[in-house]
């Protein structure tokens, strides 16, 4: 399914425009072919040169991202990125959006999103081992937003639970700007032996090899998904979008996983590709272009769900749960046997031939004849105009209307409780209890943790996984929003004791044809680049989701970062909660007066305004190194990131999670509410046994990280000395029941 806009041209328009091709793009096709394109060819170019498949608006920016590093095995351009996790193993990961379909049919939209990303991982030859779902909805005060959240969560569970891949993390956030267009991203992580990865360069197809389509049959799913879905205003004419909504079949997906991995393990394949956006056209042309070969594709061989499908429909159908394998003829019988054992139908639909031409026949007639590489690599590329919103530069400097300077006379205890019950902060247990986080038996830490920890089977190593978006910061300053998203994702991995290795991303934005949106995008890319360079976490791939807007109003510019880290020994994993009494509580990092864009400003003062916190990436990196070394030396009893709601909320969450209270003194020059709720970056609350305090202080000093002793853990009470006190139970009650209450369910 595609995230793409759409021309609102009437059906009376020429065919190429109805297929989403601009006049100059048509001219480009004419030049490539040296003649007028046939209708099926236009459909193929329309799909392949769509924003979704070609990244034509984003490519020039994406190219500036750092993509290389010692751990990177496979960077952008493949179905998913891959990093070396040692012992000959590779972790494969990728994130995608399924926001547009989810806005129309939340259950199936979210479900088929899971299916799509899982197939990306399979097509790399990796077994999917974890799913994470970053979601953003409008406020739960409206019936529609509750319906969307319910449906999306049920769809993620309905699909993920049924294919045996644990859902171990993600996040759920809420913002007005996402009411019309919820953001539904999903990340999948897989494991493979590094030398068995399936990429364009590891397997070489031969002249005479065949392309085998296996899995589900092909229907009219998603025909025009590229244009139809995002074109209609979401509140009207949704019935017209019917062809774009697809029904997921997780049972078929499970069979695809097992059959595909068996085909690879048995050495039967010369290539493997999932079918996603642009369906057969994309899978066949990409496989051919990668191999530097041509293909003869026979559409009559494609098993159809509906009779009488037109050539262009078969070529661009986005029916789910299909894979394409390249097989030498000598191994065809073995491939058939494996697929049949797993109850899957197969069809030989194409031959690989010398040259680079993709020839398509239907009903014995040639309906398309184009250079494969022209579909894949020779699409248009745009440097779209960009322009900051009016008044942006005035806002960049900290101004007096920043919430940091707003006087606050309220009760700090009430403020803390309100923030713990605010939907962005409150426990999302209601959602993640609907996900199977245990299957495969490797989940050391699942949903609700700073980072999910998933063991690499047969070793002490574990993957540390986190997804983070900072929409509120991004709305105020897209550069800082992106930097914070990368930093927080890395910090969430680092507090577990793991070393951040690499990222993938899903970039969620409005209409790129609007200069403000394009500016937001470029600023976000700049932020990701700067952060990834300093934090040494290269970008291994990602996905761009544009056109998330309705009625001219777009979502907050929200790059969501998927971070993958490595924990050398899962037994050294540091938990977030206070595990026992008698521990010393420290905060690593410095607190400044920074309430711009904060949870406090939104929940307590009621504004999303100001300048997001500054961030010193070198300090952030030093903090990660410190956390890694402290975990390696087994000094830390707990470590929890200071995020939304700052120190106050971080302490409260650690107390709730561990079931132990604390008594602390938060003393500095700042007003009490600023000291407690400032969201200064690069801070972590840690606890340490008395015997390790000196070593931790020395280690922090060696890394140049500020460290401040706040107090001790213990007892049922939560004491902020000189400010207020409450109990763990009071905090827990409000933290755990907020979402069920908002969903109007019994708590």
């Amino acid at each position: 399914m595609s995230d793409e806009a759409v021309s609102d041209e009437a059906p009376g328009q020429p065919l190429h425009r109805r297929l989403g091709l601009a006049d100059d793009e048509l001219e480009r096709i004419r030049q490539t072919l040296g003649r007028e394109p046939r209708p099926a060819e236009l459909a193929m170019y329309g799909a392949m040169w769509s924003e979704h498949c070609s990244y034509k608006s984003s490519k020039i920016h994406l190219r500036t991202l750092p993509t290389e590093g010692p751990a990177v095995l496979v960077g952008p351009g493949q179905d998913a990125g891959a990093v070396d996790v040692g012992d000959g193993m590779a972790a494969v990961f990728k994130m995608e959006s399924h926001s547009h379909p989810s806005a129309i049919e939340p259950y199936q939209g979210a479900a088929t999103g899971v299916g799509g990303i899982v197939r990306d991982i399979i097509s790399m030859g990796a077994r999917p081992v974890a799913l994470l779902d970053p979601l953003i909805f409008g406020p739960l005060t409206t019936e529609r937003n509750r319906w969307l959240l319910s449906g999306v969560v049920a769809g993620i569970g309905g699909y993920g639970n049924c294919i045996g891949v644990p859902t171990v993390g993600g996040e759920i956030r809420f913002a007005d700007a996402h009411s019309a267009n919820p953001t539904v991203d999903v990340m999948c992580v897989g494991l493979a032996e590094a030398d068995a990865l399936v990429t364009g360069s590891t397997l070489t197809p031969h002249d005479g090899s065949v392309m085998v389509l296996y899995g589900a049959s092909t229907g009219r799913d998603g025909i025009g998904g590229v244009s139809v879905l995002a074109s209609a205003a979401l509140d009207e004419g949704s019935e017209a979008s019917r062809p774009s909504v697809q029904i997921g079949d997780p049972f078929a997906e499970k069979l695809l996983i097992e059959a595909s991995l068996e085909l690879i393990e048995c050495g039967l394949l010369e290539g493997l590709q999932d079918l996603g956006g642009a369906g057969i056209t994309c899978a066949v042309s990409e496989s051919a272009a990668r191999a530097g070969m041509g293909v003869r594709l026979d559409l009559d061989a494609v098993p159809l769900r509906e009779p009488d499908m037109e050539a262009f429909e078969i070529l661009t159908s986005e029916s789910q749960e299909r894979m394409l394998a390249i097989v030498p003829p000598s191994k065809l019988d073995d491939v058939r046997a494996v697929c049949e054992r797993w109850g899957l139908d197969i069809a030989v639909i194409a031959d690989l031939v010398e040259g680079g031409k993709l020839t398509v026949t239907h009903g014995g007639v040639t309906v398309a004849e184009v250079p494969a590489v022209s579909l894949v690599d020779e699409g248009p590329e745009y440097d779209r105009p960009r322009e900051p919103p009016a008044g942006h530069h005035a806002r960049a400097a900290v101004s007096t209307d920043d919430p940091t300077f707003a006087p606050f006379e309220g009760d700090l205890r009430v403020a803390l409780l309100r923030m713990l019950g605010a939907p962005n902060v409150a426990s999302k247990r209601w959602a993640w209890q609907q996900y199977d986080s245990r299957v495969q038996g490797q989940t050391v830490a699942g949903p609700g943790s700073d980072a999910a920890i998933v063991r690499v089977p047969g070793s002490l190593k574990a993957l540390a996984l986190s997804t983070d978006g900072k929409g509120r910061y991004g709305a105020l300053d897209p550069y800082l929003g992106a930097v914070h998203a990368v930093a927080e994702a890395a910090r969430n991995v680092a507090v577990s004791g793991a070393r951040p290795l690499a990222i993938t991303n899903c970039l969620n934005f409005g209409n790129p044809e609007r200069p403000v949106v394009m500016w937001q995008f470029a600023e976000s890319i700049r932020g990701i680049r700067d952060a990834c360079i300093v934090l040494e976490t290269p970008v291994t791939g990602g996905n761009v989701s544009f056109y998330n807007e309705s009625g001219g109003s777009s979502i907050w510019p929200t790059p969501v970062i998927g971070m993958l880290g490595l924990l050398e020994d899962h037994r050294l994993r540091v938990p977030a909660g206070f595990p026992r009494s008698g521990l010393a509580v420290y905060v690593l990092g410095e607190t400044f007066g920074e309430l711009g864009g904060s949870e406090f400003a939104e929940t307590v003062i009621g504004v999303v305004a100001g300048t997001p916190p500054a961030i010193d990436l070198v300090q952030e990196h030093a903090l990660h190194e410190l956390l890694h070394d402290a975990a390696r030396d087994d000094l830390l009893a707990s470590a929890h990131d200071c995020g939304d709601g700052g120190l106050g909320v971080a302490l409260a969450e650690a107390a709730i999670d561990g079931g132990n209270g604390f008594a602390v003194t938060v003393a500095n020059d700042l007003p009490g509410h600023v000291a407690l709720f400032s969201e200064s970056a690069s801070r972590v609350v840690v606890t340490v046994g008395p015997e390790h305090e000196d070593r931790l202080i020395a280690l922090a000093s060696a890394h140049g990280v500020s460290i401040t002793r706040l107090g001790e853990t213990g007892g049922p009470r939560v004491v902020f000395d000189g400010m207020f006190e409450t109990t763990v139970e009071e905090l827990r009650e409000i933290f755990e029941t907020a979402i069920p209450r908002l969903m109007q369910e019994p708590v």
Binding site: E239, V245, P250
Partner: protein, 88 residues
């Protein structure tokens, strides 16, 4: 007067029907070799209090459209009406 209706909700033609397909593929193993086009839907029975059958049917139509089915992916059919009291 109470009127009893049954509503059948089915996937729109052409959409993938994994449930129907799973049942269909399991039938040959049980010796049923000649079955095809298996589809699964939802059956809802409801009683409506209304002065006329037409009025009741109008309500059922609205219920089926707005709640029982998702018009994006499903069709529904209202079958039959009988005076519910007589049956009870």
């Amino acid at each position: 007067m109470r009127h009893r209706f049954e509503v059948l909700v089915t996937l729109k033609p052409g959409l993938a029907d994994p449930q129907g397909k799973a049942v269909e593929s399991s039938l040959p193993a049980l010796g049923f070799d000649d079955v095809s086009d298996v589809h699964i839907g939802r059956h809802v029975r409801l009683d409506v209090e209304a002065t006329s059958e037409a009025e009741a049917r109008e309500q059922v139509d609205a219920i089926a459209h707005r709640l029982l089915s998702n018009p994006v992916i499903e069709d529904y059919r209202v079958i039959g009406s009988s005076a519910a009291d007589e049956e009870a």
